[in-house]
């Protein structure tokens, strides 16, 4: 037993030693944390792997491209931007760990990212506690920025903005009977609830509400149900893959109503290929957060820069989302001035008005403190005479 007691004493001593060592660096000067004379450390979190890694890794690659350009241009007030990436596995425990790590261990100045709705939502209390400036660029759930939190801004179209726009588009097209096809994951649920609410507000009842799984190889039952409901417009709360399967199988039974997509299907050209049937998309329109298709000539500089940084990547709309949000952040950092503090950055973010990025469909306006949802402009894409064009 004596041996045990010695061991215990030794253990306590070493634990204390470890504890005091890591605790000796206390959180001083949170306002300027992550800033040195030469660098600004910016954190990012999102999934690197798993089914939705596109919203994490690829978006970060876009952010990296913007930082690379800013650094090549001499940095922000002479400071180079350094992106510190954290994998959150698209899980709440991952995002909370990532935020804590970025805020208290990596001690970054601000964070850009937030890919998965649930994971980001779960991290909100932690973000607020840390008081760290955060620019959301992918997660769509309204509750992240509504009600507004002093340190969280979003450059992503939030789910309610898109849901309203989708319904309005259908109504504008003269639809009498509107139906809904949706996935059932967190992303879709974040859109579904505001959609139902807005429909109620407008006095609309969906004539059909069907589910389609993200990896369903086929959507015939859904197509049959939608057709049977007699809907003339269909709101799609689907990713591109189930969206393509949906439209294809509806065409198969000779049903081609107005299809209303949203930003998950904003790579129009790719979507056409995924559907794979010529002329299938003549009644299809979708919201695009970005003004361009990845293949557009305007995107050439970014395509090149991305290729030089990540030779394996083709420019995608996911990258473009990252590019837009990072341009907003870089702009705010510039406006915050040489004597950068977190408060100054937040003030600069809050004051951004009519800012044009290279990618977003509309200009960015953060109406702080009323609204921190800075992107209110859904752009629309549709086919006209076989060409993808922006409408409205």
């Amino acid at each position: 037993m004596r041996g045990t007691r010695h061991v215990l004493a030794a253990a306590l001593a070493s634990a204390l030693a470890v504890g005091t060592y890591s605790g000796s660096v206390t959180a001083q000067g949170e306002q300027t944390q992550g800033i040195s004379d030469t660098e600004i450390h910016i954190g990012a979190f999102g999934p690197f792997a798993g089914p939705v890694y596109l919203y994490g890794k690829l978006v970060m690659n876009g952010v990296e491209a913007v930082f690379d350009k800013a650094n090549a241009d001499g940095g922000v007030h002479g400071r180079k931007l350094v992106l510190v990436r954290e994998d959150d596995n698209c899980k709440p425990e991952g995002s909370i760990a990532a935020v804590k790590k970025l805020a208290y261990d990596e001690k970054v100045f601000a964070i850009i990212g937030g890919a998965c709705s649930n994971a980001t939502l779960a991290a909100v209390p932690e973000l607020e506690k840390a008081g760290i400036p955060m620019v959301i660029n992918s997660a769509v759930a309204d509750a992240i920025t509504d009600p507004p939190k002093p340190n969280i801004f979003s450059t992503q179209l939030t789910s309610s903005i898109e849901s309203r726009a989708q319904l309005n588009y259908a109504l504008d097209q003269g639809a009498k009977k509107i139906a809904l096809v949706r996935m059932t994951d967190a992303w879709a649920m974040a859109r579904y609830n505001p959609l139902i609410e807005y429909a109620k507000e407008k006095g609309i009842e969906f004539v059909a509400d069907v589910e389609l799984q993200i990896d369903a190889p086929d959507a015939t039952p859904q197509a049959l149900k939608l057709k049977a409901s007699g809907a003339d417009a269909i709101v799609m709360v689907l990713y591109a893959k189930p969206g393509a399967v949906m439209i294809r199988d509806a065409l198969k039974i000779g049903y081609n109503p107005i299809w209303v997509g949203q930003t998950a299907i904003n790579d129009f050209a790719a979507f056409e290929k995924q559907v794979g049937i010529p002329d299938a998309l003549k009644n299809f329109a979708t919201i695009s957060a970005v003004a361009f298709q990845p293949t557009d000539p305007e995107m050439k500089p970014w395509t090149d820069r991305l290729k030089s940084l990540f030779p394996n990547d083709e420019l995608s709309t996911f990258n473009m989302n990252g590019i837009g949000s990072a341009q907003v952040l870089v702009e705010a950092l510039k406006r915050a001035g040489k004597d950068l503090t977190r408060d100054k950055l937040l003030a600069a973010l809050g004051s951004i008005k009519d800012f044009q990025t290279d990618v977003y469909a509309g200009s960015i306006t953060c109406d702080a403190p009323r609204s921190h949802q800075c992107n209110q402009n859904p752009g629309w894409l549709a086919l006209r005479d076989g060409k993808i064009v922006r409408i409205k």
């Binding site: 792997a49 089914p51 890694y53 596109l54 890794k57 690829l58 059932t184 069907v210 589910e211 389609l212 799984q213 990896d215 369903a216 190889p217 086929d218 015939t220 039952p221 859904q222 049959l224 149900k225 049977a228 990713y239 591109a240 893959k241 393509a244 399967v245 294809r248 199988d249 065409l251 198969k252 039974i253 000779g254 790579d267 790719a270 290929k273 995924q274 794979g276 049937i277 010529p278 990540f310 394996n312 990547d313 083709e314 995608s316 996911f318």
Partner: protein
Amino acid sequence: MEMFSYLLATGISTGALYALVALGIVVIYKATEVVNFAHGEMFMLGGFLAYTFHVMLGWPYVLSLILAVLAAFGLGILVDRIAFRPLMQRQSLVSVLLAMVGLSFVLKGVARHLWGGKGDYIPFPPLVSPEPIMFGGIMVMSQQLVVLGAAAVVMIVFALFFKLTRAGRFMQATADNPKAAKLVGLRIDRVYMYTFGVGSAVAAAAAVLMAPLTLLYPDIGFMLFIKGFAAAVLGGLTSIVGAVVGGFLIGIIEQLSAGYIHTSMQEVAAFIVIMVVMVLIPTGLFGRRGMRRV
């Protein structure tokens, strides 16, 4: 009635896909008493390899198909070499399963690494015109007919392979009685190896056929594995005929339950079938009685 015919027709065409996946699972199970957990990943990799050859490198379709099938055959052998053979010598089924689960995740991660930068869901060019055509009073995708026909061809080739070729008869003999097979001098290791190869090759063939309809993405494997497994279980896990019938049944059950009960049944029908069959009729529809060790 129109609804029923459409559901049935689609059930048969997705069923063909499940049947092909189940076929690979059953062939491997018959010979080795192990369910290849990474079977779905063989399908996924087969599809991506064909995509690489055909779309990225621009090689002819048939050549790409053959190369993908050969590559998958090699991958199957790899599964045998790294997950099955070393562990079966220790006679530990738990270890084999765990290794395969591990492998399936590694393959998924590798695929994401290699092809993940190309966008979300990769379309694969169909063999025939993508327009739907009239067939027996209903519209079908011509690719669906191609798949159905090709699936039939694969199944027949398979049956012939087992009946007529030396390797096939060896596999059959090993499956029926491994001890006896060993006694008459069959190199059982080699038979196992080819079995894994052949099973994976079938998966790759199915992938090339189906990719135009399902699109390609790194996570497609698990969904197909679980559906193929449901089909195999329904058919009794040891019967090739059972796998095919089970595949079609799962396809049809899925369609009808989604059409007539609720669209969410499409996702969950396979899980329910597995649980119900396992608990109520563990030998499935075509399984051999009394062969299960409890």
